[in-house]
Amino acid sequence: MYYLDRHCVRKSASGDLSETKRGIQIRRPEESAHVSRGSLLLRMELRSNPEMLCVVRNALGQLAATLGFSDPECRAVVLAVDEAMTNIIRHAYRGDAEQPIEASFRRIHAQGDGKSGDALEIVLEDRGVTVNPKKLCGRALEDVKPGGLGLHFIRQSMDTVEFSRRKGRNQLRLVKILNVQEPRKGS
């Protein structure tokens, strides 16, 4: 198990990679137990084909808007999930377009970074190679070079980012807490 912070990953005894948006808050699986499982909103089983990314983006954008996220928040959530799936395709499956990815979306109650409330929980699972912690470090943003931005985008976009490896599967759990506002009418 590894713990992740802004610039490195530290190995721990329990197995998960975990961080919150603003820092190095480490959340073990048992510490997340206060989060209710919530209600399943959507579940998708996909192939690791890059052509599927736009399908997920469109569905997720609609879902986030329906839940009441603002337009910038919707874009942030969509970007984070797109980048996470891109990482699965490129790194866990090494470009093989026929491997399974499961995505589930739940409405939960969550807390973190001094705020709490309804939230969107997204769990992505794949059966690819074990996540290499060194590849989770991203890169220093001052380096002007292609690549390495995806994890930075995910971190910046979500309130909670947790990686784990269980029973031969990589699991990425993302949480975005909903700022209080009325759901859009007619959505």
Binding site: P50, E51, L53, C54, R57, P72, R75, V78, L79, D82, E83, T86, I89, R90, L141, E142, V144, K145, P146, G147, G148, L149, G150, H152, F153, Q156, S157
Partner: protein, 110 residues
């Protein structure tokens, strides 16, 4: 994603529309590197006004194009950045490294 090329003197203008992501960014990268490294076009302009979405792979393609332009002494100019594109470039902290113009007229001006 669609890329339409226009040529104006020694300037190539790419009108790009749609989504730039893992599936489509290789096409953008290829088009940029062809103009810059192979054809050595002195100025390549990207009209991003109709881009609905760009992710890190798209940004990486732009960075590769920028590096190629610097290598060969050309200019890579972006214009028509909408909110979505601008947000992602700002999030990448790379927005300052690109030459960004307000509109096409400015981007092709001598």
């Amino acid at each position: 994603m669609k890329i339409a090329a226009r040529h104006l003197d020694m300037i190539t203008i790419f009108d790009i529309s749609g989504d730039i992501d893992l599936a489509t960014s290789p096409e953008l990268r290829k088009a940029l590197l062809r103009e810059l490294r192979e054809l050595k076009i002195p100025r390549v302009v990207l009209n991003l006004g109709a881009v609905r979405y760009i992710d890190s792979s798209g940004v990486a393609s732009l960075v590769e194009g920028l590096k190629a332009s610097r290598d060969v002494g050309s200019r890579l100019i972006l214009f028509g950045l909408n909110r979505t594109v601008r947000e992602v470039l700002q999030l990448s902290k790379l927005v300052k490294i690109f030459e960004i113009c307000e509109d096409e007229a400015q981007s092709v001006a001598p």
